[in-house]
């Protein structure tokens, strides 16, 4: 299954998952590769405070070419939620 980002680039669901997890991992340098999965909770497991989730907005805009809404990002609970949000913003290819 593929979808298109805001620039028309095609992404598979697996590709979106990998890209988002890579971004989250980069923002949590103290956490190892295996620690971060789709079920990882941003606040509870990674310890992100109220504002830290906003750091995903810029790299997702650069990498996945999707503009996220801050208010939605602040309400995300898991890495899987973030993947779902990005995926749902993309258009069917």
């Amino acid at each position: 299954m593929t979808r298109k980002d805001e620039r028309g680039h095609r992404w598979t669901d697996v590709g979106v998952q990998r890209a988002v997890i890579r971004i989250v991992r980069r923002l949590s340098p103290g956490f190892g590769r295996r620690v971060i999965t789709l079920k990882t909770r941003l606040h509870t497991d990674l310890g992100w405070d109220d504002w830290y989730p906003l750091r995903v907005v810029k790299p997702i805009r650069r990498t996945l070419h999707e503009s996220l809404e801050d208010r939605v990002v602040l309400a995300l609970k898991t890495v899987g939620d973030l993947v779902s949000y990005v995926w749902n913003r993309m258009e069917d290819a």
Partner: protein, 292 residues
């Protein structure tokens, strides 16, 4: 300007009973829970299989937020003082204290905020707070209200707001416009735990308030979490009439159930609106509603 402070109560002799200040907020809990995206049980292993194609960006954004159920229009936060990031995780407390031969004292530290969206990259908060109770003479009580807008400008977060603070006599009143900035991250432990084994994080805020004069301030907070236990400290320094004054507060809490905590908290220094020396220590129950 303010009533003379009575001799501090013998803290160690206090039997502190918790009542549920926070119970006042409990009525909102169910409603807020319904608005809060609590769908953590759903499998997040794969992106949703289908979302209706949307014709334009705005519609796609709406569809995405709606499909994931992650965008409550308004969020109620209790026990989240709006003064700073650390206070955002400090439970609201209401304590009843009994000293031998003395009347029953109450101490209240509570705040509630309503948070909603302004635009894609900005949001709004409105809040009320009170530091009162019979153990605090009116001159030491503080009441406040504020409205504040946030904007994310990665790598920083900026906030502009308007705040009103008053003492219990409403003799000292401080309306002020505020501007604050914090780095979203970039240093070890800034906004996120240092590591899976070390659950410590911190956040600094640099701000300035324009009211009866210009008052710059620097606030830093740090917190630790270990299982049901939490501890935090927050310190703020202001430049008032050319002199530096500071205030520090800390707490140690144990989560009992849900958003209910047993909390020991203390504070010392000079805090607005009076900037008079003060200090207290107490234990009680705390309540928090919203992100932790």
């Amino acid at each position: 300007m303010r009533a003379p402070r009575p001799a501090p109560a013998a803290v160690c002799a206090r039997a502190a009973f918790a009542l549920a200040a926070p119970l006042a907020a409990a009525a909102f809990a169910a409603r807020a829970a319904a608005q809060t995206p609590a769908d953590t049980s759903r499998p997040a292993a794969a992106p949703p299989a289908a979302a209706a194609p949307a014709p334009d960006t705005a519609a796609r954004a709406q569809a995405a937020a709606g499909t994931t159920g992650l965008a409550p229009a308004w969020q109620l936060l209790v026990g989240h003082s709006y003064s700073s990031a650390r206070a955002l995780t400090q439970p609201a407390t209401f304590t009843v204290e009994q000293e031998r031969g003395q009347p029953l004292y109450t101490v209240l530290d509570a705040a509630a905020m309503l948070r909603g969206a302004l635009a894609d990259r900005a949001w709004l908060e409105m809040g009320l707070r009170a530091r009162g109770g019979s153990a605090r003479p009116p001159g030491e009580r503080a009441y406040g209200a504020m409205v504040r807008m946030f904007g994310e400008l990665d790598p920083v977060l900026v906030a502009a707001g308007y705040e009103y603070l008053a003492d219990g006599h409403f003799v000292v009143q401080q309306p002020a416009a505020t501007f604050e900035v914090t780095a979203l991250g970039g240093a070890p432990g800034l906004g996120t735990w240092v590591s899976p084994a070390l659950h410590v994080r911190w956040r600094p805020w640099l701000g300035v308030a324009w009211g009866k004069g210009v008052r710059p301030y620097l606030r830093a907070d740090g917190e630790w979490t270990g299982g049901r236990f939490e501890a935090g400290v927050e310190t703020t320094g202001w430049l008032v009439d050319g002199a530096a004054v500071g205030f520090v507060q800390g707490d140690v809490s144990v989560r009992l159930v849900g958003g209910l905590f047993a909390t020991a908290s203390g504070e010392a220094g000079r805090a607005p609106p009076t900037f008079e020396p003060e200090g207290r220590f107490g234990v009680g129950l705390g309540f928090r509603l919203g992100p932790t």
